[in-house]
């Protein structure tokens, strides 16, 4: 199995898993437009390599390793989509397919340069959230304004945008993406790094999210909240 195929599989399992909870063989086959038999075969390979937990007849679930890999590819895919749309002005219809081909060959360095060039965008042209990179940086400005190369150390724990927390779930702020003025506004209201915050509720249709921080409650525009990345705390309260 080529690395390109492997990444494509992981990506589609991530997509299906997000919606259905578990990726069934038939769903993966439909998504990748291949025969179910080849999917079964591929899942066995992925399972051996430790990317998925695979149970015949039930489906596949990503392992932590597999998820990290899949999110990395997804991030590249969406960054490329923004690049193709905003910089190269490629026709919207072709953007997805183009990005699909390019995402597998992108190096870490190019990905980082692309993110800098596009000023750390929050969403792809189709409106899906772009994951934060897993470099050990505390804000985007260290990347955008810093000279030379950025720390290539990676984080141990996965970062989640606060908007993906479940109501009642708590997280610790690890990274705020975006330009200085947004970061400053949020910081002044108490959203500093390593502060614990709790998602209270999300308004429907990508409306504002309500979060609790330092004993106050804030309603924050969804697009701004997308920039706040946390490491989730395990315990939840109702």
């Amino acid at each position: 199995m080529t690395s390109e195929q492997l990444e494509e599989y992981l990506e589609s399992i991530l997509d299906i898993e997000t919606i259905d909870g578990i990726a069934k063989t038939s769903a993966i086959a439909k998504c990748l437009k291949v025969a179910p038999a080849s999917v079964t075969e591929a899942l066995q390979v992925l399972s051996e390599k430790g990317f998925v937990h695979y149970e015949p007849y039930k489906g596949a679930k990503l392992t932590d390793l597999g998820r990290e890999m899949a999110q990395k590819v997804k991030r590249r895919h969406r960054l490329l989509e923004v690049f193709l749309t905003d910089v190269l002005h490629i026709n919207q219809e072709n953007v997805h397919d183009e990005a699909c081909k390019m995402e597998h060959t992108l190096s870490d360095e190019t990905e980082c340069a692309l993110c800098k060039l596009l000023k750390a965008p929050a969403r792809c042209p189709h409106g899906s959230l772009i994951e934060a990179c897993n470099r050990q940086v505390e804000s985007c400005s260290s990347c955008l304004e810093g000279e030379g190369t950025v720390s290539s150390c990676t984080r141990d724990e996965p970062l989640l945008p606060v908007t993906t927390l479940a109501p009642g779930q708590k997280g610790t702020i690890a990274f705020i993406r975006g330009d200085n003025s947004v970061v400053q506004r949020l910081t002044d209201l108490g959203l500093t790094l390593h502060t614990e915050i709790q998602l209270i509720r999300k308004a429907p249709m990508l409306g504002p999210v309500e979060i609790a921080v330092r004993k106050t409650k804030l309603a924050i525009d969804h697009a701004i909240a997308d920039h706040i990345f946390v490491t989730a705390c395990k315990e939840t309260t109702g």
Partner: protein, 660 residues
């Protein structure tokens, strides 16, 4: 001295400052901590109170007379930081640094101490004499929070007074503390930051030992570190080399932390605030499964379906309640006043006759047309505001407002706009970006205010039917959405998203709701009554002197040919610019009847209502717009809306004529 908690501030022997006639005290603090309530308690002046952040848009002033001293109290707008990202922040910091108030009273919300102390730390860097009023102690107690104020006072080095401003508790202690602070001038201790930051602050302070632009040296150093543009600009005039050196320190700091220096500073301040809170605050563990009242109400009010139903019911209820109660009150008053003397606006006779008749007509019109509708509206509005529901509207409607390039906060001015456009325009200041602020103010001028509602009710609903009146209302809403979208595309500038504090709900307090209603009604009476009486006299006099004809003739191409209205309406619209309700008054005065169906056809009545609703905002609004933005922008809005009114009026006249 009681009320000082024996803080170190009072133990320092200080000589009496020269006796001044009047001392100045500034109230500063986060939004929605109860500053306005405290201001009212101290001064007895009725400052608007509402349970939403950003209530105090204009600096309010009042006088506290206490133990023979005259103390001018300034209520500064509520802000979360003084990094000068917004005009309010700029205004507050310049006032404290340049006007040198004798004492700054920092008002804090006891239930959100950490964030409030963050602001206290910034404020203390301005090095004014300062005292702390820790407000909403009752709410904190309810949440199981206990604060050791004596310890806090010791740590900060300034007096700390507990208060519950809404109930007037602690106000006497606070007044005593203010008086003694005028004498002792307690200055807060300098709170050292982390070593990396503090070292660099000290180094920059050595470069600017006297500070810059009237600000203290430590403040100057911190602002240079944060690369505050105003401070850099001022400092460059003094010593460009030193500014470059400060810039190098900033870069060092940014390299260490990988964050902009201003963000590093904010984190440092929060760190100090956290330490202070850890020292002085204790939280009694509460049963986490037990939902607070706010959380229980929010489950309904912010529910994806029930929430919107509630919202429509509340806004609909606000309008229906206003109309029903208003109509009932209006009838009562009319019956009562016509019993005293009949209204005879059109008289020709001696000067005295003209004046007396004109004045009486104006008085009756003001009392029967304005007050009955405004009082119930403001009463209901005060309930929505004081309970905390208004902020929930912002959250629920944020997505919808995005369509017009605005965000949820803009719903507050738009709802206020149903009452009076002027305060609604001023409240647009709660919106951060200049583009969105102007956009919101423009749309507010299109919201049918109580005056325009009265015209629509008095002309269209009464003499055509209610459905046409509602259709006009609907048209106004559609126009707001369409023009909002258009203006959003055409206006330059950026749109930023909403970040808004969600206050806890509380049971509206009867005195505050009544006080608020009375305060707003009173300020309206002060504008309306003289305007009506003078305007009415002017119309009667102009009629008696025969001045009306020329105005009507000049305007007749528009009124008669384009809009198909009687020639006399030219003058009516001119008077309407003073106040929109004056159109009804002028109509009645000029035609000598209040039964408008005898002078105009239904089509004419609808066109009249439409044009009156849309054309030029009233003079007070134009002035408010000019003050908030510029004359150019105010006149542009006026011209645009007048053109729109004439265009839509002409179209309506021709279309409606086909089938009515």
């Amino acid at each position: 001295m009681n009320g000082c908690n024996n803080c170190s501030g009072c133990q320092i022997p200080v000589s009496l400052p020269e006796r001044k006639e009047e001392y100045v005290v500034a109230l500063a603090g986060n939004a929605n901590v109860g500053k306005s309530a405290m201001f009212n308690q101290l001064t007895g002046v009725d400052q608007d109170i509402g349970n939403w952040p950003g209530k105090t848009v204009e600096r309010a002033e009042g006088l506290l007379q206490y133990r023979g001293q005259r103390i001018r109290v300034i209520d500064l707008p509520g802000i979360y930081s003084i990094t000068a990202l917004s005009t309010e922040e700029q205004v507050s910091r310049e006032f404290i640094a340049h006007d040198h108030p004798d004492v700054v009273v920092n008002v804090l919300d006891a239930s959100a101490l950490e964030r409030n102390l963050f602001f206290t730390l910034q404020l203390s860097e301005l090095e004014s004499p300062m005292i702390l009023a820790v407000n909403q102690m009752d709410l904190a107690t309810k949440k199981g929070i206990a604060i050791d104020l004596r310890k806090l006072s010791g740590l900060l080095g300034i007096p700390v007074i507990p208060t519950i401003a809404i109930q007037g508790k602690g106000i006497a202690d606070l007044s005593d503390a203010i008086l003694s602070a005028i004498v002792t001038r307690p200055k807060p201790h300098t709170m050292p930051y982390g070593k990396e930051v503090e070292d660099r602050i000290q180094k920059i302070m050595a470069l600017f030992p006297a500070g810059v632009g009237g600000y203290p040296p430590r403040w100057t150093a911190i602002k240079l570190l944060e690369s505050d543009s105003d401070t850099i600009w001022e400092a460059k005039k003094l010593a460009p080399d030193a500014v470059a050196a400060a810039g190098a320190f900033r870069q060092e700091l940014e390299r260490i932390h990988g964050e902009p220096a201003a963000t590093v500073m904010s984190s440092e301040r929060y760190h100090v605030a956290e330490q202070l809170v850890a020292e002085v605050m204790e939280i009694r563990p509460q049963n986490e499964n037990e939902l607070s009242l706010t959380e229980r109400i929010d489950r309904l009010a912010l529910h994806p379906l029930i929430g919107y139903i509630l919202l429509i019911m509340v806004i609909g209820g606000l309008l229906v309640w206003t109309f029903i109660v208003g109509a009932w009150l209006s009838e009562l008053l009319t019956a009562f006043l016509s019993g005293i003397a009949p209204v005879q606006p059109l008289v020709k006779g001696t000067v005295v006759d003209v004046i007396i008749n004109g004045a009486w007509t104006g008085f009756v019109a003001a009392l029967t047309l304005i007050l009955p509708y405004v009082i119930p509206f403001y009463l209901f509005l005060a309930l929505i505001e004081d309970s905390g529901f208004l902020t929930r509207f912002s959250l629920m409607l944020d997505q919808g407002m995005h369509k017009m390039g605005l965000h949820g906060k803009a719903i507050i001015p738009l709802v206020l706009g149903f009452g009076c456009t002027v305060p609604a325009c001023l409240s647009c200041r709660i919106i951060e970006s200049p583009k969105q602020k102007f956009l919101a103010a423009f749309l507010v001028t299109l919201v049918p205010c109580s005056a325009r509602t009265i015209v629509i009710l008095g002309v269209v609903a009464l003499f055509v039917n209610v459905w046409w009146a509602l259709a006009l209302y609907l048209f106004a809403f559609i126009l707001i959405v369409v023009l909002g979208r258009l203006a959003f595309r055409l206006l330059p500038g950026e749109s930023v998203g909403m970040i808004m504090e969600m206050p806890d709900y509380h049971v509206p307090s009867v005195p505050i709701v009544l006080g608020q209603t009375w305060q707003r009604t009173k300020s309206l009476i002060w504008i309306v009554l003289p305007a009506y009486i003078i305007g009415s006299i002017a119309i009667t006099a102009a009629f008696a002197a025969g001045f009306l004809e020329p105005i009507n003739t000049i305007l007749s191409p528009i009124t008669v040919i384009l809009l198909g209205l009687p020639v006399m309406t030219g003058v009516v619209f001119v008077f309407g610019i003073i106040r929109k309700e004056m159109t009804i008054l002028a109509l009645a005065a000029l035609f000598g009847t209040t039964v408008f169906s005898t002078i105009m056809t239904p089509v004419q009545l609808i066109v009249f209502g439409l044009v009156a609703m849309l054309y030029a905002p009233c003079i007070s609004t134009i002035l408010a717009l000019a003050k908030e933005f510029s004359w150019k922008q105010a006149l542009a809005i006026t011209a645009l809306e007048t053109a729109l009114a004439i265009a839509f009026g002409a179209i309506a006249f021709r279309l409606l004529g086909l089938f009515m």
